[in-house]
């Protein structure tokens, strides 16, 4: 029996069955918190958290860097930072992933600031197609150009919110925590961006 199961034995919840943090119930968040508390005493227990969130964090960083090697490096750095600061982590009723996303965002920003390069948003066409109603053939070149133009003209902070909401599927409370901004501010920025997109595209999204 793994340490992971031992820690949350009374609740019998297998976090590996959960796809992403957005599906977590309050009980599951509380069970996860027990693992975090155990990890504060023994870092070996953190392995379960790593296993559960690695994929999500890696995908997030990859989307922000468009480089597999860099994503690998920054993802590993994110978990090292999380381990280093685990004792300072305070539970705020959000899934632990919100904290990991926050660290990952800081690591990515730090990298781009250091290199003095523009941020990158590498978006999956598949997901974009889901969000915007298109023909089965997908986007035409003109549509892609138009979409890129609109997204390029948005402020980077708004793009970050857009990405976290539509591609990571996070709630506004988590987004606000990750980006260290107000919840209402995050909502307002997103709605403005959506309105801009709706002028040109049929956005398949309702709040």
């Amino acid at each position: 029996m793994s340490f992971y199961k031992l820690v949350i034995m009374p609740l019998i919840i297998d976090l590996n069955t959960l796809d992403t943090s957005r599906h977590m119930t309050d009980e599951e968040i509380a069970a996860e918190q027990q693992i975090i508390e155990a990890s504060k005493k023994d870092v070996q227990a953190f392995g379960a958290i790593y296993d559960h969130y690695f994929k999500g964090i890696f995908e997030f960083i990859y989307r922000r860097t468009d480089s597999e090697e860099l994503a690998d490096d920054l993802c590993s750095q994110t978990f090292v930072r999380a381990l280093e600061n685990l004792k300072r982590y305070e539970f705020r009723g959000l899934p632990f992933s919100a904290w990991l996303y926050r660290i990952a965002t800081n690591e990515v920003n730090k990298h781009f600031n250091k290199k003095n390069r523009n941020r990158v948003f590498s978006l999956e066409e598949e997901r974009v197609k889901e969000l915007m109603e298109t023909d089965d053939e997908g986007f035409t070149d003109a549509q892609i150009r138009q979409l890129k133009k609109i997204l390029n003209n948005l402020p980077t902070a708004t793009m970050e919110i857009l990405e976290l909401r539509f591609f990571e599927g996070l709630g506004f409370r988590e987004i606000a925590y990750i980006l260290n901004i107000g919840e209402s501010g995050a909502k307002m920025r997103l709605y403005r961006a959506v309105e801009k997109l709706r002028v040109q595209f049929n956005l398949n999204w309702k709040e």
Binding site: E59, N118, N152, A157, T158
Partner: protein
């Protein structure tokens, strides 16, 4: 206007490919190395702090000692030294004492 670049990817990265990047052993190794370095740094800083503290104590005590006024014992010694020598008064001619 944002300072970012938008790229569209045709395919999503597969779970298998992502799994290939998973390396908890490496994360733990980096964490252990980092905590060792931090512990060592803390020790060095603590040592330097004590050295500094000792230095401050030493120089302060030295400064206080230098500023101390002469004691009564020292005054007595100076009085003894400045007193007339008995040998001199014995050799004095008699006419001097009249």
């Amino acid at each position: 206007m944002g300072r970012h670049e938008i790229r569209l990817r045709r395919h999503k990265m597969t779970s298998r490919r992502i799994e290939g990047h998973k390396n908890y052993y490496d994360v733990m190794k980096k964490h252990q190395r980092g905590s060792r370095t931090r512990r060592l740094l803390k020790l060095v800083l603590l040592f330097l702090f004590f050295v500094l503290l000792l230095g401050v104590v030493y120089f302060t005590s030295k400064l206080v000692a230098d500023e101390e006024p002469p004691t009564i014992e020292n005054e007595q010694v100076s009085m003894v030294i400045s007193g007339p020598e008995p040998a001199l008064s014995a050799d004095r001619p008699e006419s001097w004492s009249r």
